[in-house]
């Protein structure tokens, strides 16, 4: 495979055993037979190995972590990044939910307020009817505040009472 890596016509010959250790490790030297058995400079070998690290690893069924070339650091692959960061998507979802909630509550509040106004008008009118004919004396303070301007609406209010249903 070193031959394929360097694209030259090189034969692999003698394997010399030396410095036997307990671990599986070896030194190797690449010679160029076409140039009268000179060793190929280390930098070229290093570059070749760097290029074909994958193939060398798979030949041994190992990986970058289990087959280490001293002094050759592997080019790290960057972590996969999706085009839109995931957090932006999640953020968008959360924000939409919240805005929907706020809009719903505000609108419900406005509607509730309208309904409250009508029902308190109705309540106060019923109260007035129960107390006495002379309504002006017994008008409670809240009614006065809410119905500012509608004090003498007793007769017109009769219609209101029915239509508001």
């Amino acid at each position: 495979f070193i031959a394929f890596s360097t694209n030259k016509g090189i034969l692999i010959s003698n394997v010399l055993l030396c410095n036997v250790t307990d671990r599986v490790s070896f030194w190797f030297v690449v010679t160029d037979s076409s140039k009268n058995v000179t060793t190929i400079p280390g930098s070229e070998v290093e570059a070749a190995i760097r290029l074909n690290r994958n193939r060398i690893n798979s030949a041994f069924l190992l990986s970058d972590k289990t087959l280490q070339f001293l002094k050759i650091t592997s080019t790290l692959s960057p972590p996969v990044e999706p085009s839109t960061p995931v957090w932006l998507i999640v953020f968008g979802v959360v924000l939409c939910l919240i805005v929907a909630g706020i809009v719903f509550l505000v609108v419900a509040g406005i509607q509730q307020r309208k309904k409250n106004k009508e029902s308190t008008e109705r309540e106060n009118l019923e109260e007035k009817g129960e107390v006495t004919v002379t309504v002006e004396n017994g008008i409670p303070c809240e009614a006065l505040d809410l119905k500012a301007g509608h004090i003498n609406g007793v007769f017109a209010a009769d219609d209101e009472r029915f239509t508001s249903l």
């Binding site: 650091t73 957090w87 924000l95 409670p140």
Partner: protein, 622 residues
């Protein structure tokens, strides 16, 4: 229409004052307000550094003599007077009106920075949906030959927190730029707060069911999972082993007192606001004891999963340290794989050290001490965003754990925010001028918007330094001052006899000797001692902070720096601003009284009582 005292249930309705849907909502709101982030990341830390189980002794003593009496006082006050903090203190005595304004001011300041902490939680939450988790890997440097340098020298978790989240500047004076991702999260957080507090307790009452109960569920899940992790028992043993010698150190007692005080969220005005929506005849004594006990129990309950996880992290850290050393040794001596395992590591090291000491020394092995890993105590944001996230990476299924953890933190903080916002909202609602012209929804919207705009300062590069400043100065000393005046005001201005009568009217029984003694003597004395001790400790050394500076020689250790004078001035301002209202308002009324000495309306309201409050429609005018 005569106000009959025998028909109290109808009175709140005609009062026009909103009320809780049921008692459980009220209790849950108080518990949610009290139980916050501090229960998870401050109490376990204090237990750890102050001798484990021994810390519980000063803690419970402080709870008994400071926490519960003050809590009962505030709840009874709000329930009796049925007004927020400003109105309540004005009613007790116009001279004490400043106490209410001070509470309000503190609630405003705390709301500002507390939500920014929630912003950070939210940022981590929305980043937890990725595989792998972004804080588990270091990004590559420019030419893709290695890891980013800042990340490599510290850890990936540190890098994600300081660079990717805060984008922190090396100094508090360098403001840096606004971080747009934090602004988005801040806007979201304030939108959530607005959504939940839009109509005051009508909406928070519904939201509290989720935000107050959910954290307990998650804590239980973490408890069960944490106890199954390796090293959990070591962490727990380390946490709870009592070391009674630490009790000799007065610092421990001070920390216990301050922890109880700040944990129960006293003197914010939020508790007064919550109880003011109660029907007048409600057993506030039982409520106070319940809330205080639940708060303390939650602190204890939360410390168990926290310390199981920390024990697990220490164990894995220790194993990693051993493994790294083993690899270096194996490489150096060309030994076969698996010849040195963790178990026989010490035997091997001793053997090799005696046979080849120079080689071993040349390897520069790090000494792996398990105790040292356990001793790395962290509290506050460091615990949540650095230590815990690191532990989560090591668990299988980390995304799920991260999501759960951050939702739990968010709920804890949110329920405390409700109390803070209520403390701001309720007194404003009671100002006649505002409540007539603006609907509730608009008022809460304005409050949230103004707070959001001011809190943008915390999204600057130096934001986290400022949050530390706010937390240490605005959220500590003024509260002690205000609480002291609260107790003195009720005990000696309003008079305990009258207060006891009011409490008897509300709960049906006279407060017993325990309450009398604590309200009159013990609690004020304790508060005074804590205040003096606190101030003494603060002024002993110039206030400093630790900065994250990649260019520092000791990096990744943080650089210790001193605050410049203008920052110190702001710190002093933060402390003084809420407290200054107490004497200012008193002085204002004194001057007013001296000018119109014939005016009887400025005499302390002898005629006022709880029975009177419930039958009184008109708010006493100034």
């Amino acid at each position: 229409m005569s106000k009959d005292l025998s028909v109290p249930p109808e009175i709140p309705k005609e009062d026009g004052r909103p009320k809780w849907d049921n008692k459980f909502q009220y209790i849950l709101s108080c518990i949610g307000f009290a139980v916050g982030l501090g229960n998870v990341w401050r109490f376990p830390y204090l237990c750890q550094i102050h001798g484990g189980g021994a810390f519980l002794i000063p803690y419970f003593i402080a709870l008994l003599f400071e926490g519960i009496p003050l809590l009962h006082l505030e709840l009874a006050l709000g329930q009796c007077l049925r007004k927020g903090s400003i109105g309540a203190w004005n009613t007790i005595s116009p001279y004490l009106g400043g106490v209410g304004v001070g509470s309000w001011m503190v609630s405003v300041l705390v709301s500002l920075y507390y939500n920014t902490v929630l912003t950070w939680v939210m940022w981590y939450f929305i980043n937890s949906f990725q595989e792998p988790l972004p804080w588990s890997v270091c990004p590559l440097n420019e030419n893709r030959t290695g890891l980013n340098e800042e990340c490599y020298e510290s850890t990936a978790v540190n890098y994600f927190w300081y660079r990717k989240t805060l984008n922190i500047t090396p100094d508090v004076t360098e403001s840096g730029t606004l971080q747009w991702w934090l602004i988005l999260c801040l806007a979201t957080c304030w939108a959530i707060v607005y959504l939940c507090t839009i109509r005051g307790i009508e909406t928070t009452g519904k939201a509290i069911y989720v935000t107050a109960i959910f954290p307990y569920l998650v804590l239980t899940v973490f408890l069960i999972h944490g106890l199954t992790l390796p090293g959990a028992t070591d962490g727990l043993a380390y946490l709870f082993t009592p070391n009674l010698n630490t009790l000799k150190n007065p610092r421990v007692w001070l920390d216990a007192a301050t922890q109880i005080f700040f944990s129960l969220s006293l003197a914010f005005g939020g508790l007064i606001a919550f109880s003011s929506y109660n029907p007048p005849k409600n057993d506030c004594e039982k409520d106070a004891v319940t809330v205080a006990v639940v708060n303390s129990m939650t602190s204890l309950y939360a410390s168990i999963p926290v310390f199981s996880v920390l024990g697990f992290k220490a164990t894995t850290g220790y194993w990693d340290c051993l493994d790294r050393n083993i690899i270096s040794i194996i490489n150096e001596f060309d030994l076969p794989e698996e010849s040195i395992m963790r178990q026989n590591y010490t035997a091997w090291i001793n053997f090799l050290n005696s046979s080849y000491p120079e080689k071993i020394a040349g390897l520069k092995l790090k000494s792996c001490d398990f105790q040292e890993f356990l001793d790395q105590s962290v509290s506050g944001t460091g615990l949540a965003f650095i230590t815990f996230t690191q532990a989560i990476i090591l668990m299988p299924g980390s995304q799920a754990w991260a999501i759960l953890f951050f939702i739990m933190l968010f709920s804890l903080g949110l329920s405390s925010m409700f109390g803070n916002i209520e403390g701001v909202f309720t007194p404003l609602l009671e100002l006649q001028s505002i409540s007539k012209s603006i609907p509730k929804e608009l008022l809460s919207g304005i409050i949230c918007l103004i707070c959001f705009l001011i809190a943008l300062c915390f999204t600057l590069g130096s934001g986290s330094y400022w949050i530390d400043i706010f937390d240490s100065y605005a959220g500590s000393l003024p509260l002690l001052v205000i609480a002291f005046f609260e107790v003195i005001g009720v005990a000696y201005v309003y008079k305990i006899k009258r207060f006891s009568k009011d409490v008897k009217w509300m709960t049906g029984r006279k407060p017993n000797l325990y309450w009398q003694i604590t309200w009159r003597f013990i609690s004020p004395l304790l508060l005074l001692i804590v205040f003096v001790a606190f101030v003494t400790l603060q002024i002993q050394k110039p206030p400093s902070y630790t900065a994250w500076n990649p260019k520092y020689e000791g990096f990744p250790m943080k650089e210790e720096k001193v605050y410049p004078p203008w920052v110190l001035a702001i710190c002093v301002l933060l402390v003084v601003l809420p407290c200054v209202f107490v004497p200012l308002v008193a002085l204002f009324h004194l001057i007013k009284r001296m000018r119109r000495s014939k005016d009887p309306s400025l005499v302390p309201p002898e005629v006022f009582s709880c029975q009177g409050a419930s039958s009184n429609f008109s708010h006493p005018k100034e």
